[in-house]
Structures are given as C-alpha cells and as structure tokens.
Assembly symmetry: C2
Homo-oligomer: 227 residues x 2
DNA sequence: CGTGATCTTGAGGGAATTCAATGTCGGTGG
DNA sequence: CCACCGACATTGAATTCCCTCAAGATCACG
C-alpha cells in the first residue's frame, strides 16, 4: 500500500522520489503550490514537440520515453532514454529543443516549470535539487558525446552497461526500445547494432535470450571494450 | 578607457559582461562578495584537471581554452572551445568532469562557486543568469552531439559556421586552435579534417588564406552541407 | 496459420582511418 | 640574410570499418 506521505503536498518529494507509486483514482495530485498532474501516453505518442513552449517538466512514473531530433535529410538522432524516476523536458529555454515520445505506454507527472522555478527562488532545497537534476542531465549528454566518437563495439558495449545500471535485475537487461531506437541513439545503423550484438554474443560477453532481453555474461569484457 | 562601472563590486556584471576589459595593475578585483581574481595561463597550461574539486568558475577574458578528456587508449575528446566571455568549469558536481587547458595564452577571471551559489540564493538576478549559463552549456553540448553523427564534410562545415559566429570579423575566421584540436573536437582524424578543408576549398565554399585563417566564401553552401 | 513488423545475416561498396611521405611556416643561430 | 630545425599541415596509397542494399528469419497479432 501507499504510504501516506506520497500524497502529501510536498514538491521536494515529487522531484526526488525515484519511483512514484501509481496514482489511484483521480488524475490530479494536490501538492501544495506545485500541481502534479498525471498524464498517460500510449506507445509512440508524442509527449511534446520540438519548438513547443517548454511549460512543463515530465517526471516519468512508468514506461519509457525518448527524446529525439529529426535532421532535414530524415536521419533521426535520439538524445536520450528516460526511465521511471527520470525527468524529461528540462530546458532553461522557452522552447523544447528536442521532441519527446513514449516508447512504451508511459505515465508521467507534469510539473509546471514557472511554478517550480518560482518555488526554487524561495526554497533552497528545491533550488538545490533543480541544480542537481540539470547537472545530471549535462553529465549524461557529455557521456553521450564520448560514446559517439567510439567504435561500434564500444558504443554498443557502453550502451549495454548503461542500460544495465538503469534497468537491470541482476545481469538480465530488459530493453524497452527497438533496435532502431538503439541505432539512432548510438549513431549507427540497425544492421550494425544487430551484428555487433551477435558478435558480443560470440565472444561470450552477452547472451541474447530474446531480441529485447539481454543477459550480461561478462561485464569486465564489456568494460574493457569501453576503452 | 575603462568605464568606472567595470570596477564596481557587481557580480552580475562579472557574469554577464561579454568581454571584460583588461585588469590594469593589481591582479585582484574587489567585487563585493564575489572575489574575481584574474589569472593568466600560458599556451598549453592546465587550468584545471579532471577529478579536481570544482571550486571555481573561470570567465575567459582573453585567449582561448579547451576542455577535454583522454580515454584510456590515448584518444582525446575535446568537449568544447571557450572564447572571451565564455564561462568554463561550470559543474554542479563537486569535481570537474573534464580537464581544461589554455590553447593560446589566456587570461581568466576566477569566480568562487560556493560564493556564487550562495549569492544566487539571495539574488534572483544572479540565479537567473546562472540558469541561463548552464542552459546555454547544455544546448551547446547537445548541438555537439548532433555534430558527431554526421559525415566528415558536415562536421567540418558546421564547425566553421560555429566558429564564424563566435570569432568572425566579416567572413574571415581566425582559428585559435590547431588541426589536431579541431579533429579531436569533431571526432575525426587530423588527416580527414585537412582533406575535408581542401575539398571545401575546391568547391569554393571557403578559402584557406593560411592554415589558421579561413575565409568563408559561400556560407549557404556550408549550411547546405550541414544537413 | 498468414501477415506485417522487427530483427538478423550476407555481399559489396564507400567513407574515414592508418601509415607514410612530403610540404609549409616560424623561429633560431650561423 | 639565409640555412636549418622542429612543429604543424597536407597529400597519397592501402586498409578497415561501417553502411547500403538485399534476402531470410523470427516474432507478435489478428
């Protein structure tokens, strides 16, 4: 059962809670000054579009989301994957610089940006958390940068290790995204991702139980690939 | 001559001034609560190292700096180039995640992070500027990400356009960094950068006056390459 | 069971890298 | 002043890695 505190009007909790328990009954949580409206998105539904006003942050409650950009020639670059507990749509600009979509069915908590910023001005703890969140995002994007200069093997290995940290139960990784998503995240083609995975299986670094389920058999081998 | 305000104890000015006039005489500027110590770095000198405590921000006054990481196999990835007016070392973590060096002789204004953060808690204007600076940094890193999935031509073209915006006088771009720096920034080899530049010269998009001086002859051609 | 979507595998080609040599520029000392 | 030197940059040839195009294989779903 839910602990009573999850229903309290506490913006700090909204920001910091890693997994928010499901919102039972009504879709609106009263959280003091910070309205947390819960919103559901079905598979492939748009959460927000590039260029739209960035009025809300979205805290993923369940499911997975992706941010992406489509270049003029049709190539798609995925900026990141967002799992439960992650915060999406963090921009200091007035407009979203990426689009966001639900990968699987997906529930998110909406947080009004202006309200949050105003609140941060008065409550140090909120401000501190906001800084930590945007700093985390910056580090994530920088790590992604480092990925993109590496070889296909290194990129895939790094991706697997990253996902293992985020979704793993033991050594098994249940991937929420398709090969195409992975490819567009890593700056590779879907074929190269597929080939690299079978290659990693051949050297006994991983085991492909099914296409979406991957077991890490030899993490140190993967780390070693990770230059 | 310097206007008197440049010497006033005004942290907002320190953050926002695009180009800080040279500090004549003593090396320490009294800026109220925010001490702005001026510091000089010679070519290739380290400004800070990866993993060191991130106690200071550095506002470049003159010269150019680079941030970088060296992977275990020796490859170097340059995270960004910082020109006069840019702020370096912005981390919300306790430690620097990149190293920083002066590319050319370089003067920077040191800003104590803790002091700045404390100040931001009391002055909205400071907080607002801090947000804008880190948001800018985030956008810069994301744009860099997009670069790294493109072809060599596109990367070099995008790099030239970026530098043109930042250092150009008309159509001439005076590059402060070496080919190796450019290569490590773009995730290419020095040879590929060189070849691509001569290629761009052949199609009359640019002119290589000298190796460090490049004239943009056809910006729309460069933009077109920029997918 | 079909049917479409997703994933894997194969063969060939192309873009960037590697390795190697040559060229250019700025400084230093004869 | 010019010859030499080292650092930096360009160019060339061969190779490697990833992409493209194409054909199967597998999976989910009606």
């Amino acid at each position: 059962m839910l602990s009573p505190t999850t229903h309290r009007a506490d913006p700090i909790k909204i920001l910091s809670m890693r997994h928010l328990p499901p919102v039972n009954g009504h879709q609106l949580i009263e959280t003091g000054e910070l309205m947390g409206a819960s919103m559901s998105f079905r598979r492939n539904a748009e959460i927000y579009g590039e260029g739209e006003p960035a009025d809300y942050l979205y805290k993923i409650v369940s499911g997975t989301a992706r941010t992406y950009k489509v270049l003029s020639d049709g190539r798609r670059q995925i900026g990141g994957f967002y799992l439960p507990g992650d915060i999406l749509g963090l921009e200091t600009a007035e407009e979203h610089s990426f689009s966001a979509e639900a990968i699987s069915g997906c529930k998110a908590l909406l947080i009004k940006r202006r309200t949050l910023v105003a609140l941060a001005g008065r409550q140090d703890e909120i401000a501190r958390q906001l800084w930590s969140i945007i700093g985390e995002e910056l580090r994530r994007v920088q790590a992604h940068n480092l990925l993109l200069i590496k070889s296909a093997q290194e990129r895939v290995a790094a991706f697997l290790l990253e996902m293992a940290e985020r979704v793993s139960t033991g050594n098994a990784v249940e991937l929420p995204m398709s090969r195409q998503d992975i490819a567009d995240y890593l700056g590779l083609t879907i074929e190269t991702v597929s080939r690299t995975l079978t290659q990693l299986e051949k050297i006994a670094a991983i085991q492909l139980s099914s296409s979406r389920r991957i077991v890490l058999r030899n993490r140190s081998a993967l780390s070693r690939l990770n230059s």
